[in-house]
Amino acid sequence: MSLASQSENTYAQFSAAEVGDYLALLKPRVMSLVVFTAFVGLVLAPSPMHPVMAFTALLCIAVGAGAAGALNMWYDADIDARMQRTSARPIPAGHILAGEALGFGLLLACFSVVILSLLVNLTAGALLAFTIFFYVVVYTMWLKRWTPQNIVIGGAAGAFPPVIGWAAATGGISLEPVLLFLIIFFWTPPHFWALSLYRADDYARAGIPMLPVVSGERETRRQILVYTLILAPLGVAPWLLGFAGPVYGVVAVVTGAAMLALAIRLLTEPSDRAAKHLFAYSILYLFLLFAFLLIDRAMGAHLGLMG
């Protein structure tokens, strides 16, 4: 311990961080999903945005999400170091100092919120600020180490981007973005619990009360199915409520049924392989739902022009 901290101190006298280490703090893969869902929320909104303003809004949302990621890595550096999945992140790997990550995260959080508020609108800025607060303080600092419901409640942070996108375009919120919020919100537990099923040892070692660690794998599989039973109909809801056309409807029914089938298989024939399948498919499922909301809207606009 003393040896490790000594060598860390020598190393820490002057920052040796690469630009790429800072980019890694932004969690680029999470960011890509955030930007994509925010973009869908922005495009579906009834008031069209000037491309420059839309770009500004998406940039701020992306940077805000990155800031939340950096602050999460700053606070969680101790448990990231104990988990195989996260031990190569910049802070536990020794590439970046905890203080650097904290300063970087705070700076980007302030910039993204202020710029979004001033250049686009205050509603979007306030929602972005709340999302960062929710992810960093409510999820990372409070829920993650305390309750197996951590990712259920914390999932709200990941569900906000389409709402922010919608608010950026319209200045307000209505039923459609709330529906997009609910889809991501109910998608998060099956997605993360599938991952935690085959990473349960990792979470147990780090002392994180993930559901499989606390309540066992069988209970986790049962709850995955329960949330998927809510998620699949929610996925179809945009079509049923008339926000999206039949093309989206068909895709939502088919992909939702596949998600449900994988969740049922996980319960009846439990294996790491089944959990991995569900985890991988859940990402594709969410991507397809949002992509077809876009495609549906583009086709609708085209037909509208024709008619």
Binding site: F14, S15, A16, V19, V52, M53, L119
Partner: protein, 54 residues
Amino acid sequence: MSEPQEQTGIVLTEEQKRRRRARSVAIAVSLGILVVLFYLVTLVKGPGMLQRPL
């Protein structure tokens, strides 16, 4: 007259200098993007940007 000065304090290695330079360039690029962004947004929003209530 003057003695050869001893190097004191932190002396950066070449690698550290290279990385510091890379970080500085990245910060400069980010600031440049911000300048262009503010310029474009001002053009899009027009002079009304200065007259709206805060």
